[in-house]
């Protein structure tokens, strides 16, 4: 949002550029290698088979539901973490961000012992007639678990770099906290919120390990696109590659959308930072 001032220093040593090129190749080359393996003659029939379309539809629906849950719970979490001052705040942040670094299969096991039939909450839920195991709900829970930190991180960054001066002014003018939140804070960090939501959606779309461990795999119910790819790989490598390419394309579009406009907060320009962690 700030136009780059004239005369900004941008002299990057050539060797840095060279290493950066290797780094970029490391990411791009495997994708290109996969694209080169696509059986284009069979591509359309492979990706439009009933199993593929069912899996893609399920993936899009569950990822959308997970994104809604991420926004619902992630926005308050980010606000509390960015604005609140309470003991154990750092600890809370570490735990909220944990799914970012945990292997998804660990998340799946944890969810199993929480919402599974023998789980902490699952037993009471079962008594209440709610069964989560092997249902689409389980897929959404697994995706929300792994995607929530993406929204929290993006939004907390945006909130911190936006600072709280406008809110303070609004409050002195007599606005109640909820009004400040609705009229000042949220509009201010909307770009950060949007990119966080898009990233959560993308992460949900790619979720595999937690889903496999926790939700199972049944066509149309729990078998999302990544699970379908994993299964197709057993018998039909062409189908697996074709579906992988579809997933890459969706991911590229989604991530491209989120980074198209440099959002006010997410770029978290350090000089703007007002609140020290």
């Amino acid at each position: 949002m700030n136009p780059r001032p004239v005369g900004t220093y941008s002299g990057i040593p050539r060797w840095v550029v060279a290493i950066a090129a290797v780094g970029a190749l490391f990411v791009l080359l495997p994708l290109a290698a996969m694209a080169a393996r696509v059986n284009w003659a069979k591509f359309i029939p492979l990706v439009t088979s009933e199993a593929s379309l069912t899996a893609l539809g399920l993936s899009l629906r569950t990822a959308a539901a997970s994104t809604v849950l991420c926004v619902l719970f992630g926005v308050p979490l980010a606000l509390v973490l960015a604005r609140g001052g309470f003991p154990g705040q750092r600890l809370l942040r570490s735990f909220v961000l944990l799914p970012l670094v945990l292997p998804p299969v660990v998340g799946g096991i944890a969810l199993l012992y929480t919402f599974g039939r023998q789980g902490l909450l699952g037993r009471s839920l079962e008594v209440a007639g709610i069964q989560i195991a092997f249902s689409t709900t389980a897929v959404v829970l697994a995706q929300t678990f792994v995607a929530l930190p993406f929204l929290v991180v993006s939004l907390e960054g945006a909130l911190r770099s936006a600072g709280s001066r406008y809110e303070a002014v609004a409050a002195t003018l007599g606005a109640r906290p909820t009004t400040v939140l609705r009229r000042v804070t949220v509009p201010l960090v909307l770009p950060g919120l949007a990119s966080g939501a898009v990233l959560s959606f993308a992460r949900s779309l790619g979720e595999f390990g937690a889903t496999l461990t926790f939700a199972g795999s049944l066509q149309g119910v729990t078998r999302t696109l990544p699970l379908e790819i994993y299964l197709q790989r057993e018998t039909d490598a062409d189908a697996a590659v074709a579906l992988s390419l579809v997933l890459v394309a969706v991911a590229v579009i989604v991530v491209g959308l989120s980074y198209r406009r440099p959002a006010a907060g997410t770029r978290s320009s350090a000089p703007e930072k007002r609140v020290s962690p």
Binding site: G116, T213, L218, E234
Partner: protein, 262 residues
Amino acid sequence: MKRGLRAAALLLAVALGAGLAGCAAPAADGAADGAAGKTLTVFAAASLKGPFTSIAAAFEEQHPGIAVRLSFAGSSDLVSQLNQGAPADVFASADARNMAKLQDAGLVEAAPQDFATNVLTIAVPRANPASIGSFADLAKPGVKVAICASQVPCGAATKTVERETGVALKPVSEESSVTDVLGKVSSGEADAGLVYVTDVLAAGNRVKGVAFAEAGKAVNAYPIATVQTSRNKDVAAAFIAAVTGPDGRRILADAGFGTPGA
């Protein structure tokens, strides 16, 4: 476009190679230290983990100077790795189909030998909450059954049994590996799952097996063969002889595997 891709791949390989050279060096030293020692690499289906670990230990004892390196994974994963040039001397597959894939790729030295068989069984949680006593019980309403997807060997066997018995299952999940089916049963999520006899034995007392007669309709044979690109073909042949010999048979039988042709 292909040429550009290859050039880029080469560049990356050189750059990464330079970076990784440091990490690779100690391993190379270690191999050289073995002096007379040879390393035999065995790729084996995941279900063979227990018995093959014992067989390899006995083999190393009888053949001083030879180290056996075991790599366990799903048979189709191992075939993909071998097709991509993974160095292995022996391949033991959980089904004929994956061995055939490797033969089609010209990577099998001689005709594979069947060395073990495996049959399906019903795995239930220790308490057997759904009171499963037969294959037909799996189709009772409300019973949550997990099975393998038909794309993987245990799923193909499940389909055969369904056809033979005329019992159509309505599974809550079609997993991509037998381990995942077992996991759903041992965690109590599923009331029952169709797995191999050997899986139930290996799982210890977390799950119980309910044998059913119709399992005999879908006997799965495990073939073993020397990999064509092996540089230790004599050692590989000796290892295969150990697996198919009396000691190997006994170890496999203890793990629940059947004898082919019996």
